[in-house]
């Protein structure tokens, strides 16, 4: 047998002599390898059992996680959407203002005026200087208006919607109160009363 063949089939010891694998140890090595594979199987079973236990623990926890992860922004959006989704009969009554008070606030620009109607109606006509915080898109609009809203934390805020039986202004006003705005009121007459009184109007998508 050539020397290179011999070296490839055997291994050299540190002393330089050639040592052949001990055939008696082969079954032991195989058994050890098989044991490691079986143990890895045990680890896999442990992982599956842990996931099952985690699902059960989550099911009975005080604040369970949803199955699919939501980013902090998505959670905030969901929270904001929930705030304005309360049925009208559950809304705490917000302070209200009449047409005269509303008109003077608009003229003196002493309050932040918010239009709670959908953007389509807002673009067709709104109170001059008003910003659109639509109840329908509350989470998105709230984030877009974060700067003017932050500046108006202690300033009076007056919310209006279409008027009459419209609840959007009250829903938005209560959501803002929940979010920490202290001086929020509702112009109950809404857009109907404003336009019926022949007050000026702006158009377009000012936000």
């Amino acid at each position: 047998m050539p020397n290179s063949d011999l070296n490839s089939r055997n291994c050299r010891t540190s002393a330089g002599s050639i040592a052949t694998p001990d055939p008696a140890r082969l079954p032991q090595a195989r058994s050890l390898a098989w044991q490691i594979v079986r143990d890895l199987g045990g680890v896999a079973i442990l992982a599956i059992a842990s996931l099952a236990a985690g699902l059960v623990i989550n099911r009975f926890s005080l604040s369970p996680l949803p199955i699919v992860y939501q980013t902090p922004e998505q959670r905030f959006d969901a929270e904001l959407t929930t705030l304005v989704a309360a049925p009208p009969f559950k809304i705490a009554p917000a302070a209200t203002v009449g047409l005269d008070e509303f008109r003077s606030a608009v003229a003196s620009k002493s309050a932040l005026i918010l239009d709670a109607r959908p953007s389509l109606f807002f673009e067709q006509g709104h109170v001059p200087g008003a910003l659109n915080l639509a109840r329908d898109d509350f989470a998105q609009d709230y984030r877009q208006l974060s700067l003017p809203l932050k500046a108006a934390t202690d300033k009076p805020i007056i919310v209006y919607c279409a008027g009459g039986e419209c609840h959007d202004s009250r829903l938005v006003a209560n959501a803002l109160l929940s979010l920490g705005f202290s001086n929020v009121s509702v112009f109950t007459g809404g857009w109907d009363a404003w336009s019926a009184a022949g007050m000026p109007a702006s158009t377009g998508s000012v936000r």
């Binding site: 490691i36 890895l40 045990g42 992982a47 996931l51 985690g54 989550n58 699919v68």
Partner: protein, 150 residues
Amino acid sequence: MMPPGNLRRNYAVLAVSIAVAAVFIYAGIDKLRDPLQFADSTAAFAIVPAVFINLLVMGLPPFEIACGVLLLGPWTRRIGALAVAVISVVFFTALASALLRGLTLDCGCFGVGAPSRSRMWLELALDVMLFSGAMFVYLRSITRLPAPAP
């Protein structure tokens, strides 16, 4: 009677098992306390797809606690040690990948903390120690198994 060398090694296995088990049980219980924060920490690694993050967050704390408990029992120590070794490799890979990508985050390994790269390096070192400890226990346990029948 057991030779003194073997006896010392058995005590060493027991000591390492208890230490690793304590770390894992503590980490598991801590993660159970604030799963939402742990989910945000996991998402910050940007490795796990969003659909699997919460499943991982739900399953990992029981897995860590189970690893710790298994490490404490003489008959279950082998599986516990291998599980710790496997999960330590996973943690190490995630942390090393975040460090290589220049991320600064709170790994969520032991409760909530401020994102810090120095802490990430420390936790990487801890992973190496946990892996070494777990492999020591596992290899000691597996080589003491009875020889196969001829």
